[in-house]
Amino acid sequence: MLGFLLLSAVMIVGAVGVISLKQPVHAALSLVGTLLTLAVTYVTLEAHFLAAVQVIVYAGAIMVLFLFVIMLLNIQGGQQASDMKWLRPAAYGVAVLAAAGIAITAFRNAAPLPDAATINAALQGGGAEQVADALFSEFVLPFQLVGILLLTGIIGATSLVQRKAMTIYGEAQKKVVAAAKPAKAKASVAVLEGPEPAHIAPAPAEPQAQEDIEQELKDILEPDDLKLIKGIGPILEGLLHEHGITTFEQIAALTPEEIEELDEKLDFRGRIEREDWVSQAKLLAEGKKQ
């Protein structure tokens, strides 16, 4: 009994620490203490496997995750004044009532414990083997469901923390602008150093380059249905996509040399010219604009 009271005292102090310490890191460490004490309590209740899991999973893995997030977000203590001042005393009052209610019920319904031999025979110390027996027979379905839940949790957490495609697109644009800037600066330096017209040329070309890259992004994001061109099927379309050709405009703008090169590379056997993709694509590109 003395041991139990000691454990209880430590646990309650730890719990109070969790809810009253200002700094989240301190509160989290206080919770670790409480959970470790709880693990010891499990041992006194003949649940050795759970005690180990409590230490490894709860006090270990889960709490580390907490500390990571606290430090990642750099959350500091300190509270602004609440506009619900009445809530604190109300919470204390209700808490005392609820605890009293549960405790009274427990003591009024107290039943004698079975003797130590029976407990030992039934629980056998609550080792891994015994718990596994229960988990893989009686509790298979919940066990499986928990597995699914964990998987869902992982997917959910990943997608919550993941940034949206739009932000990625926005960042790509930022990179384009950033890449354009130093080039521009270099160009203006060149202007200062020596008035060679050839050096000035890149400066006006910069916005052009940015537009090009934006166009390229747009082409990848919004491909045309190339199969509308007679002679292009799904397979050829896939090949063209692999070579970065996704829009009618790109096909319409192919030069004879480029056509030859493409023909060679993709083994089209002269189909581009035979089926006159270029003028077909021109027509389709005009149609698209309207």
């Binding site: 919770l31 709880l38 959350i75």
Partner: protein, 106 residues
């Protein structure tokens, strides 16, 4: 051996301490820590009950402990998703004050 009712009383105390934490702290992460306290209080009660009812026949003796194991797994999932939400909210508003999130009402 310490009788079960003492464990239940301890469990109820830890539980209400956790509840008070949920009610009085405003930082979402502190609310989370308090919720963990409540969960563990419930686990303590389950383990105590498992010992109390271990006479009922060997087949069901470990039900309480198996349930605690499953709750542990659920808690892990809950923490992963909960902290994910927390990070997402923090990115969005640079604060974890749950009182600031009052526009969820109808």
């Amino acid at each position: 051996m310490v009788p079960t009712e003492y464990y239940i009383a301890l469990s109820s105390i830890i539980f209400v301490i956790g509840a008070v934490g949920v009610l009085t702290r405003r930082s979402a992460i502190m609310v989370f820590l308090s919720v963990e306290l409540m969960l563990n209080a419930a686990n303590l009660a389950l383990v105590a009950f498992a010992r109390q009812w271990s006479v009922a026949g060997a087949a069901t003796a470990l039900n309480g402990q198996a349930a605690v194991f499953i709750i542990l797994a659920i808690a892990a999932a809950e923490v992963a998703v909960g902290l994910g939400i927390l990070v997402a909210i923090f990115r969005y508003r640079s604060s974890t004050d749950i009182d600031a999130l009052s526009e969820v009402r109808l």
